[in-house]
């Protein structure tokens, strides 16, 4: 009796795990956002740096020291403008 119950229990637990996995997978943003869906990405709080001017200065010093330009990040703030 108790064995059967435990079997049923494990089966429902497995079902629950599968459902959780399905939900978790569906939650992954597999498709990149469309250009008109980038409102949240364009928010100032989504920037990697806190101060654009400070970043520019740091980059300028880095480039003059290393003799290399570019390769830092991609241009633009991710809003998909232009």
């Amino acid at each position: 009796m108790s064995k059967r119950r435990s079997a049923r229990c494990s089966r429902s637990a497995r079902g629950l795990a599968a459902a959780c996995a399905a939900v978790a997978l569906a939650g992954c943003a597999l498709a990149p956002p469309k250009p008109w869906e980038k409102g949240d990405l364009a928010r100032a709080s989504m920037r990697f740096d806190t101060d654009p001017l400070q970043t520019k200065l740091t980059q300028h010093i880095y480039q003059s020291k290393e003799g290399a330009a570019g390769g830092d990040t991609v241009g633009g703030g991710g809003c998909g403008c232009n």
């Binding site: 469309k34 809003c79 403008c81």
Partner: protein
């Protein structure tokens, strides 16, 4: 055999993307609410030259394009130009705040769920579609570039000259 449904879905997705608004193709129809509670759609604008502009409050070039579009509407409205600015913001308040700072003297429509930009296959923000008097897409403008203003205005003038 097992992959047939997958292929079918892929083929359908491809077919959907090839329906996009490209020059020469019929402009995808839409019916969207305006701030005043009316509905704006393409069909009643048939016979006029329509400039459909997709914009968002978070899009910096859009802010620069509005005064120019206001000037276009003022200059060519009487000749048959209709500018429709379709807002793609998720939150209406964001769009309204933008419009307080950057007033628009042309029609503004709201599409928060993005069906219209999807139908037009918008590649970047802002994007504009120039539609001729017959309802076909004449030109697609991606982004707002100051150096493109004169060309776009010339295109509008040429389309207005067509009867």
């Amino acid at each position: 055999m097992r992959f047939v449904p997958v292929l079918l879905v892929a083929a359908l997705a491809f077919a959907a993307t090839t329906q996009a608004a490209t020059p020469g193709a019929a402009a995808p129809a839409f019916a969207l609410p305006t701030a005043g509670g009316e509905t704006v759609s393409l069909a009643p604008l048939r016979g006029r030259v329509v400039y459909v502009d997709f914009w968002a409050s978070w899009c910096a070039p859009c802010r620069r394009s509005f005064p120019w579009m206001n000037a276009l509407q003022a200059r060519y409205g009487k000749d048959g130009l209709a500018i429709v600015g379709i807002n793609v913001d998720k939150r209406r308040e964001d769009a309204e705040r933008f419009l307080r700072d950057t007033p628009a003297s042309f029609t503004i429509a709201y599409d928060a769920n993005g069906a219209t930009p999807a139908a037009y296959d918008v590649k970047g923000m802002p994007s504009s579609y120039l539609i001729d008097r017959k309802g076909n897409v004449a030109a697609v403008e991606e982004g707002f570039h100051d150096e493109r203003r004169d060309d776009v205005e010339a295109q509008i003038r040429a389309l207005l000259a067509q009867r």
